[in-house]
């Protein structure tokens, strides 16, 4: 049986670049956030501030949404390391198309994000139990994380295809992560008390749409607003993927630092 090139690349992505320590940190960090931050803040934040449930029940969907960052960062970094260690050049000189390599990265992102969703649900299990999600809610959660992951992967791949310095790439990537995570509704809701400027910034952040939609799916309150959120995420994912594909077409395979 011949395995399609994209799947061969996905297997290679997992096998070659994802060492156990990195995987542990990528999934462990948000899981610990649920356990520690959830426990500690649940004692000081009233349930009215988080829509009726405990802070942990507010945080778990947020950390599920967070997985789109995890997935995106994994692909962005994979691509950067492949460029740095000339594996893009080596792979492109083999029986693969650039589109297949890009497809492999996106699939890796999705799989990683999916595993991340599972890990977050497991970490939240002792606090919120098994969430009762309708098939529509499950589909919405997965679609949201998938679109968000493609958005972040596309963004970082586009960035990685233009930058020639590891320093620049990792600095921008870290800044982006920080900005996107803290200026979103992953950790806190937007309320009437939220300063308007901050609220505006929050709503300019795709992670906010993802976190709110996933929260609605967990709460069983999906509505028209969530459809709009998915549309926004889908559009952004398309734009970022387009930017990544554009970067790939013009990718200079020469040495980078």
């Amino acid at each position: 049986m011949t395995i399609p090139p994209v799947l061969r690349l996905v297997v290679r992505n997992f096998a070659s670049n994802l060492d156990p320590l990195t995987v542990l940190i990528r999934f462990g960090q948000p899981a610990i956030t649920i356990i520690v931050l959830g426990t500690m803040f649940s004692t000081i934040i009233s349930s009215s501030a988080t829509g009726g449930g405990s802070y942990t029940s507010f945080l778990v969907p947020g950390m599920v949404a967070f997985q789109m960052i995890t997935g995106g960062v994994v692909s962005g970094n994979l691509f950067w390391l492949d460029r740095r260690w000339a594996m893009t050049e080596q792979i492109f000189s083999g029986p693969f198309r650039r589109s297949e390599y890009l497809g492999g990265l996106v699939l890796t992102t999705l799989l990683f994000a999916l595993v991340g969703v599972g890990v977050m649900l497991l970490a939240g299990l002792p606090f919120i139990g098994i969430p009762s999600l309708s098939p529509l809610a499950i589909g919405t959660v997965l679609l949201t994380v998938a679109l968000g992951s493609v958005f972040f992967a596309g963004l970082l791949i586009a960035l990685g295809s233009r930058l020639r310095s590891a320093n620049a790439y990792f600095t921008i990537q870290s800044f982006l992560q920080l900005f996107v995570i803290f200026l979103s509704t992953v950790y806190y809701p937007i309320t009437s008390a939220t300063p308007k400027v901050l609220a505006a910034i929050f709503y300019g952040n795709p992670l906010t749409y993802a976190a709110d939609t996933i929260r609605d799916a967990f709460a069983g309150t999906l509505g028209g607003g969530d459809l709009v959120s998915l549309g926004v995420l889908g559009g952004l994912a398309l734009v970022a993927f387009g930017a990544a594909a554009w970067g790939f077409r013009r990718l200079d395979l020469g040495p980078i630092q």
């Binding site: 061969r8 260690w85 000339a86 594996m87 050049e89 792979i91 000189s93 083999g94 029986p95």
Partner: protein, 340 residues
Amino acid sequence: MTPGSEVVLEALDLGHAYAPGRYAVRHLSVELHRGEVLGLLGRNGAGKTTTVRMFTTLLPPTEGTARILGMDIRTGGRALRSRLGVVLQAESLDFVTVERNLTLYGFLWGVPREVAKSRAEEMIELFELEGARHRKPWALSGGERRRFQVARELMHDMEILFLDEPTVGLDAIARRRILEFLKRRSRAGLSMVFTTHILHEADLLCDRVAVMHQGRLRALATPAELKHRYAGAREVSMSFRQPLPATLTAALGRELAGRGGSSPTTEPDPVGAGTSIRFRVEHAEELLPWLTRWVQLQGLELSRLSVEEATLEGAFLGLIGDLPGAPETAPGLPTPGAGT
């Protein structure tokens, strides 16, 4: 197997410009036959790597054409690349152990698992990587990384192998082993394009050598032809059993001058009681029959006669060493691509 007549690579006026008017390679016309090893020689920046990158579809040519295995390099894409092997100049590594790297690369190329496993064992033994089998790339020495990179490329089948300076950083024994292995593979029908700065390697491995300078082909010939044509003057030294009178030395000097040789220098033979003389002359082998006759005619007796060996390095220096700036074509050299 000697190189066959089947042409597997044919480039015609191939070129790549990084910017308008700034050519890395220009007017490259060359052929490669099945089972042939073609060496690309040249100084840094001569265009060797750019040429390999064009042939392997990593870099699109901006002018000219090239067909490899019957396919145009602009449109051949995956179908073409799946029949090639490439050892890049840059270190390209995956972050798993050497053994896993090999089998993973085999998997990427669609090599069946069992075949990949046994081939990995073969490569580990052949390229002396047993001690590095369970180490990750960053724990390897420079030489091990290079050996590993060549070994990895041989995990899959191919019809043409491109090797861009594959022996950089290798010790003499490892280099010799790799060259001998490549020679065996070429005899078995594998065609190769091989770039190197180590001219002795090209002499050992290559059936023909293309000398590039500033993006252009300056000569294309067998190593023997290149040495014959461009190796330049070589030193001939002779020792006589008896002292050589000054009149004879002067007479020899006049004869040599008429044959393109330098003035002979004389000194007492460090071994015997006679005289040793040395001079430089082009195409020394052609002079030897005359020289031995002259010695006999003068009633002299030779105790030693030696001619400095012609090397590809000498030919390379003779061909490239004096080339200034960026001439369109060096005077007196064959037209690039003439296939001499």
